[in-house]
């Protein structure tokens, strides 16, 4: 186990050390002490290592992650795991806005609540939120799955492309071009897998599925108000 104190040794050294790890590294477990809300902790990683952040972080924790498993024992600021490509990011607490923004792959798990714009512009990432999500979540979401065990805020899935949204609780309102869709057996199977990987015991049968009505895909004057 490698340990690194951010407050003492600074951010640059942390990211340089973590980014220097290769697939063959022996230093597969890292503990990050005293994050104290710092930004850009454990960003740009590209090796199958495990990083545990002992506390809460600021903006862009685990940004652009590839292959690494990053666990935050606290809450995270805006843009956790933004543009993640692969790997896993688990947040024990809450996430601020833009969680998983533009992520292309991997799994992001928020054990608490996520704030607004969760999964904005997501491009293939899977996001599982154990609690609730805020307004404008999955705005312009292109691909991937957003699973919400609690409730969703206003304007869910506004201007949605092909991402799939699953919400167990209530949805305050749907955004433009987002509609409820039928839960077919393959969706229940998909959910079962995602929930299991995210450590949630929620029943997949209790979720509703939302997706794009695809009415904004090509301009139509009668839809102009939605643009």
């Amino acid at each position: 186990m490698q340990s690194y104190d951010v407050a003492e040794n600074g951010l640059r050294g942390l990211n340089a050390a973590l980014q220097a790890q290769s697939a063959e590294t022996n230093q597969t477990h890292w503990e990050v002490q005293n994050p104290k809300g710092s930004h850009a902790i454990a960003v740009g990683l590209d090796a199958p290592i495990e990083v545990t952040v002992k506390g809460s972080t600021g903006y862009y924790c685990a940004g652009m992650n590839q292959r690494a498993t990053i666990k935050v024992e606290g809450s995270v600021g805006p843009g956790v795991a933004e543009n993640m490509m692969s790997g896993t990011v688990v947040v024990e607490g809450d996430a601020s806005q833009y969680a998983g923004a533009t992520g292309h792959g991997g799994l992001l798990v928020i054990k608490g609540n996520a704030s607004s714009r969760c999964g904005i512009s997501m491009k293939g990432i899977d996001i599982v939120v154990h609690g609730n999500i805020g307004h404008m979540s999955a705005f312009m979401a292109q691909a991937g799955n957003l699973v919400v065990c609690g409730d969703a805020g206003d304007a869910l899935g506004d201007s949605l492309y092909e991402a799939r949204l699953f919400v167990r609780g209530s949805v305050k309102s749907l955004g433009a071009d987002c509609i409820e869709k039928e839960m077919r057996p393959e969706h229940v199977e998909l959910l079962k897998d995602l929930l299991a990987r995210a450590g949630s015991d929620a029943n997949p049968e209790e979720f509703k599925r939302y997706g794009s009505a695809r009415q904004l895909y090509n301009f139509d004057v009668d839809n102009a108000a939605a643009y």
Binding site: M64, G79, N83, K123, Q142
Partner: protein, 442 residues
């Protein structure tokens, strides 16, 4: 009345002119705003309204060819470990694969590399061909984040965070269904054939205080190696430049309203933003007020066509310029040899701007493989190289005539203005006077 009675001539309205009326009829028939490519077509005060004061008796010119006149420039000297070193102060602006064909992107890379300058990706990610053919490549970081990934980010020689562009400050990207081919769709993670609308704000930050944190993240991911540019569409150049500097930019790219786009609303192109000529002095003023002029470099774009334009932009304080539309014309865009085909599309040479439709006869702004094959990337690259060389020689000619041994020694005092508008915007005196509008003491 007899036939001989003099009659009132039919007079067309200046307000309701034929083009205006045609646009009203088009809007009424289709219910959608006009979308097109390119930059502002209306006449605005421009570099043509400025002249250089060559050396004479009071100061002395340099000999062409024999006495040196340096052109190289280094962008990103503020924080980056590996700043961008360019042989000439003319770069190629961001244009996406998607907006442009693969061969066109390759040609830009080839031409720029041969001329010793950089080219730039666009709203669609980096293609291997483009990286392979560009010796110096700037990677754009846009609100859509299409194709954005850390591997490409680390392959870039610089990162350009795009806040806006001159054709549409405050607007997002747009690529219509005709151009979303299989490859473009895959790179952007979009369904094929849909109208793609990109967001106007970045998905994970808003404002300079957040931007500062975003820049920190990008630097951490790229190990503080490469410069980070911030590109803005010219609207409030003083404030935007100052804020980009405060947020930690290495380079500010300021794009005037003549700067082109692949596609956006005509109303945006013609009515939002300010002319390139008007944005340089306020941007330079902001850098000077913060004590970072020449430390944070300023790149100006939007309607740069010749070495004279380059020299004028630099005399007003820019460190370098970027060209987009001019580079496409060098490749072969709007070439008269395609006139018959332009006419079939209801347009003519020089007016073709329906770049979003993907039917470009010149094979540049298209994803149709047959059309794209019309452009030979090697030959087109050579044309771009030649054009860049000519512009550089022209700029050197002017600089030497003004007595400077480096393009960067050109200064506003080398200029005078032909019109009141240009004098006011460029803050250089009207020719033959020592006065410009707004100057104190008059």
């Amino acid at each position: 009345m007899s036939d001989q009675t003099p009659r009132t001539m039919p007079i067309q309205s200046a307000t309701f002119s034929n083009p205006i009326n045609a646009e009203i009829r088009r809007a009424a028939a289709t219910g959608i705003y006009d979308i097109r490519g390119g930059g502002a077509k209306r006449k605005v005060p421009h570099f043509d309204d400025l002249l250089f004061l060559g050396a004479s008796v009071s100061r002395y010119p340099l000999e062409g060819y024999r006495e040196r006149c340096d052109t190289s420039v280094t962008l990103g000297t503020r924080f980056a470990k590996k700043p961008m070193e360019l042989d000439i102060p003319i770069t190629i602006a961001g244009m996406s694969f998607g907006a442009l064909s693969g061969p066109a992107k390759e040609a830009l890379g080839r031409g720029a590399s041969m001329a010793g300058t950089s080219t730039t990706t666009g709203d669609g990610g980096m293609t291997p061909e483009e990286r392979g053919h560009s010796s110096k490549l700037v990677y754009q970081y846009l609100p859509s984040r299409y194709g954005m990934n850390p591997n490409d980010l680390r392959k870039a020689d610089a990162i350009e965070i795009v806040v806006g562009q001159g054709a549409k400050p405050g607007g997002g990207g747009m690529l219509l269904g005709q151009k979303i081919s299989d490859r473009v769709a895959e790179m952007r993670t979009l369904p094929k054939g849909i109208d793609q609308r990109s967001a106007c704000r970045h998905p994970d930050w808003t404002g300079p205080d957040d931007l500062e944190i975003k820049i920190l993240e990008l630097r951490e991911i790229t190990n503080w190696q490469v410069p980070i540019y911030v590109k803005v569409g010219a609207t409030r150049p003083y404030y935007d430049t100052a804020l980009a500097v405060k947020a930690g930019a290495d380079v500010v790219v300021m794009d005037g309203m003549q700067g082109g786009t692949a596609a956006t609303q005509d109303v945006f192109i013609e009515h939002v933003g300010i002319p390139t000529l008007a944005c340089i002095r306020p941007a330079v003023q902001a850098l000077q007020d913060l004590g970072v002029h020449r430390e944070v470099q300023l790149v100006i774009s939007g309607g740069i066509r010749s070495g004279a334009d380059v020299a004028k932009a630099m005399a007003l304080g820019a460190d370098a310029v970027a060209i987009g539309t001019a580079a496409l014309i060098a490749l072969g865009d709007n070439d008269p040899k395609w006139e018959t085909e332009y006419q079939k599309l209801g347009t003519t040479t020089g007016a073709y701007d329906d770049w979003h439709e993907g039917l470009d006869p010149a094979g540049i702004t298209t994803q149709d493989p047959e059309l794209a094959a019309r452009l030979d990337p090697v030959e087109a690259g050579r044309r771009l190289r030649n054009y860049l060389k000519v512009m550089t020689l022209e700029a050197q000619t002017i600089a030497r005539a003004c007595g400077h041994n480096d393009l960067h020694n050109l200064e506003p005092e080398d200029l005078c203005a032909l019109t009141m508008e240009a004098a006011a915007m460029a803050r250089v005196p009207l020719a033959g006077t020592d006065w410009y509008p707004g100057k104190a003491g008059f």
